[in-house]
């Protein structure tokens, strides 16, 4: 079947990017591509939400345009701006010409004076690109409302030029960390995918594919440890990115297991909050024991041999 070929293509591409994807991710990406609907991806930080957009762009063989949201982001910054310096310069150079005001105005409000920001870029791109709207929950509600309008019309009006409408709308991926609840209207318009922290097996596969040089025993201890950490009440729960950083560091030191002392020294790679580091340090011995690491300080009973 044709549709399954596409599905497989998505799956293969995800794998080719070392992205360990389960079926729910593959299906969501496939459906969003096939039905050309925006895909809203939510989940904690560091689980690979942004990666998906990159993979989708590869799968569609098109460009990726990214709009990073932040507090205070407004329509102008996301859509377009006039190149004022250039306009002023042009006016100065043109000062002594005999052209009428209207003619001058017409020239400086032409497309070559227009600075396209991501949304307008996405609209006017020759081949529909993948538009990644990253961390939408950071932008405020007004921007969300504005975006909703764009997502439904795919048309904007620049007063000086007129309406610009996308020939074919871009493929849209929105991501969120749930720092703020997104509006129902946005949810309704998108397909939805929730990516959680990976289970032990999946994370192990990720570590092995992204840090191929890592020792097998170390990798499994590492993932058990991270699994345990995500059950703790921490301010900033470490994501997969942290696991990978840590794995790379330990592998570079040619470790084959979690060494209690080294763990102590490298906690900063994994925990990004002062209290978290303190909390983990306090019960480190018991954590390590639970993932199967014998602390050196614990004396083994000689008779037991």
């Amino acid at each position: 079947m044709i549709q399954n070929a596409q599905l497989e293509r998505v799956q293969n591409l995800l794998e080719a990017q070392d992205y360990v994807a389960d079926r729910s991710i593959v299906m969501s990406v496939y459906l969003a591509m096939t039905l050309h609907k925006p895909l809203l991806i939510e989940g904690p930080a560091g689980v690979g939400k942004t990666e998906i957009a990159k993979v989708m762009a590869r799968a569609l063989d098109t460009d990726l345009i990214r709009l990073q949201c932040y507090e205070g982001l407004d329509a102008n910054m996301a859509l377009y701006e006039w190149n004022y310096q250039r306009q002023l310069l042009h006016l100065k150079i043109d000062e002594n010409s005999t052209r009428t005001l209207e003619e001058r105005e017409a020239t400086i409000f032409g497309e070559e004076f227009l600075l396209k920001r991501p949304l307008l870029q996405a609209l006017t791109h020759a081949k529909p690109p993948v538009l990644l709207i990253d961390e939408l929950d950071r932008a405020d509600e007004e921007f969300e409302a504005f975006l909703l309008e764009i997502l439904s019309e795919w048309q904007i009006t620049i007063p000086e030029i007129g309406s610009i409408k996308a020939k074919e709308p871009p493929y849209v991926i929105l991501t969120g960390n749930r720092t703020r609840e997104l509006s129902d209207a946005v949810r309704r318009r998108c397909f939805y995918l929730w990516i959680d922290y990976p289970e032990y097996d999946k994370e192990l596969a990720i570590v092995k594919s992204k840090v191929p040089e890592i020792d097998g025993n170390l990798a499994s201890q590492l993932c058990r440890f991270m699994e345990l950490m995500r059950e703790q009440k921490l301010e900033k729960v470490p994501g997969v990115a942290e696991t990978l950083d840590w794995g790379k560091a330990l592998a570079a030191l040619h470790q084959d297991h979690l060494d209690p002392e080294l763990v102590q020294e490298t906690l900063g790679l994994v925990f990004k909050d002062r209290n978290d580091v303190r909390q983990v340090k306090e019960s480190l011995a018991s954590f390590l024991e639970r993932v199967g690491v014998q602390a050196k300080e614990i004396p083994t009973i000689p008779d037991a041999e």
């Binding site: 079947m1 549709q3 399954n4 599905l7 079926r23 729910s24 299906m27 969501s28 496939y30 459906l31 096939t34 039905l35 609907k37 809203l40 939510e42 205070g72 407004d74 006039w82 004022y84 306009q87 002023l88 006016l91 100065k92 043109d94 000062e95 005001l101 001058r104 105005e105 400086i108 703020r180 949810r187 309704r188 318009r189 998108c190 397909f191 939805y192 995918l193 929730w194 209290n275």
Partner: protein, 410 residues
């Protein structure tokens, strides 16, 4: 309804399923039926999503059960909560359909759930009356309001401690709605500003064209003011139990609309509860709170708790755009020096410090406890928080701070 019922009974986990389901011959009708079933159980796929699901099913291999599941889930469940509802009901529903060949088809019209419609009206009316109360309050003086005759307005002047047990739920609900309404009002107010902002190059250019290319007038953008941040430090010791419960309910509602709030509770030590208050249901949030805070309704060490706050969060959470809101009766059993020092830091690092003391509701109250005396010099607004009206006044004071008006200690 007469064909062999045996196999049905054998497979059917519960008979009522068949009562609720209207199975149809058309596959698409069953998808629509599933959407309706989900709506009935708290998830809300609309007609648009129904269409999406049908289009999406067209793009997959229907015989692959796993793909079928993920496709419906991606198109119909739009949040984690909806995904939970979806997972709970997917099997239940499609299990029945799996065995549909053993059933008699029913083609009757669905009966809509009428309770939703009936439920909605009184609530809406109540909300309008709250808005009336809020708007009306803008013009009228406090005294006039208090003399109002509607039961609602009487409620707003009553001291929280004066409510009967049976009334608690109703008051909690009122607080919830007032909190939301006020938060909406507050966040709107924070948008207005007459100050000049950065240059509006677009308008400046326009103007300069008209004059042949020389810049004469600079147009300014209306500056969008940074919204204020609130840090709430709420006393949950025994003496404050009743009031803090209401206040936290208030903050819970307020926070659901106005997000820039960090909430801490303290009695003998400090606990950050911002996350707990984000729970979907207020009931759940309050339960979560009480389980995370071990010394709820314990003694009070205000100074030690504030010092903890200043040391741990002072740098990251306090800045000139932050209002510190303290709710406490000032009965400190701990070190008064600690309180004085930490109050000084709070005052220095924030825009203003507001102290709400429910005891202020008593006409004869004097802030004479040692703790209160030590804290007073660092307080910008000292106000009461003992009834619904005082909550409303509080929000008005907050907006005044937002506009940078001169503050005066009450």
């Amino acid at each position: 309804m007469t064909s062999n019922p045996e196999p049905v009974a054998e497979h059917a986990p519960r008979p009522y399923l068949f009562e609720d389901l209207a199975l149809r011959r058309e596959f698409s009708a069953n998808v629509v039926g599933f959407c309706r079933w989900l709506r009935k159980h708290g998830a809300g796929p609309g007609p648009g999503e129904q269409m999406d699901a049908l289009r999406a099913l067209d793009a997959i291999d229907l015989l692959n059960e796993e793909d079928f599941y993920w496709t419906l889930r991606t198109t119909l469940a739009k949040s984690q909560q909806e995904q939970e509802v979806f997972d709970e009901h997917f099997r239940k529903f499609w299990y029945v359909w799996d065995h549909a060949d053993q059933l008699n088809y029913r083609d009757e019209k669905e009966t809509e759930v009428p309770t939703l419609v009936i439920d909605d009206r009184p609530r809406k009316q109540k909300y309008i009356s709250i808005n009336d109360w809020l708007n009306h309050a803008e013009e009228a003086s406090e005294e006039q309001e208090a003399a109002g005759y509607s039961p609602f307005e009487v409620t707003t002047e009553r001291d929280f401690s004066g409510f009967l047990m049976e009334e608690m739920d109703e008051v909690a609900r009122l607080i919830n709605e007032i909190g939301k309404a006020l938060a909406v009002k507050f966040s709107r107010r924070t948008m207005k500003s007459n100050r000049r902002g950065p240059l509006d190059l677009r308008r400046t250019m326009r103007g300069c064209l008209r004059r042949g290319g020389d810049i004469l007038d600079l147009a300014h953008l209306q500056r969008k003011r940074q919204k204020l941040k609130l840090v709430l430090l709420c006393d949950v010791s025994k003496s404050m139990d009743l009031y803090s419960r209401f206040l936290i309910q208030f903050i819970y509602a307020f926070q659901s609309v106005y997000k820039r709030i960090e909430t801490f509770v303290f009695s003998t030590s400090l606990h950050r509860v911002t996350e707990s208050l984000r729970a979907e249901e207020m009931e759940e949030a309050l339960n979560l709170l009480e389980s995370t805070v071990p010394d709820w309704s314990g003694g009070t060490k205000i100074g030690a708790s504030f010092t903890e706050f200043v040391e741990q969060y002072g740098l990251s959470m306090l800045d000139p755009g932050t209002i510190v809101l303290i709710v406490s009766d000032g009965w400190d059993t701990g070190d008064v020096d600690l309180l004085e020092n930490s109050m000084r830091v709070l005052k220095q690092r924030s825009r203003s410090v507001i102290w709400l003391n429910p005891l202020m509701g008593n006409p004869g109250y004097q802030p004479s406890t040692r703790g209160m005396q030590a804290a007073l010099p660092f307080i910008d607004i000292f106000a009461s928080a003992h009834n619904l009206n005082s909550l409303r006044r509080l929000v008005r004071q907050l907006s005044r701070v937002q506009h940078g008006r001169q503050l005066q200690a009450a």
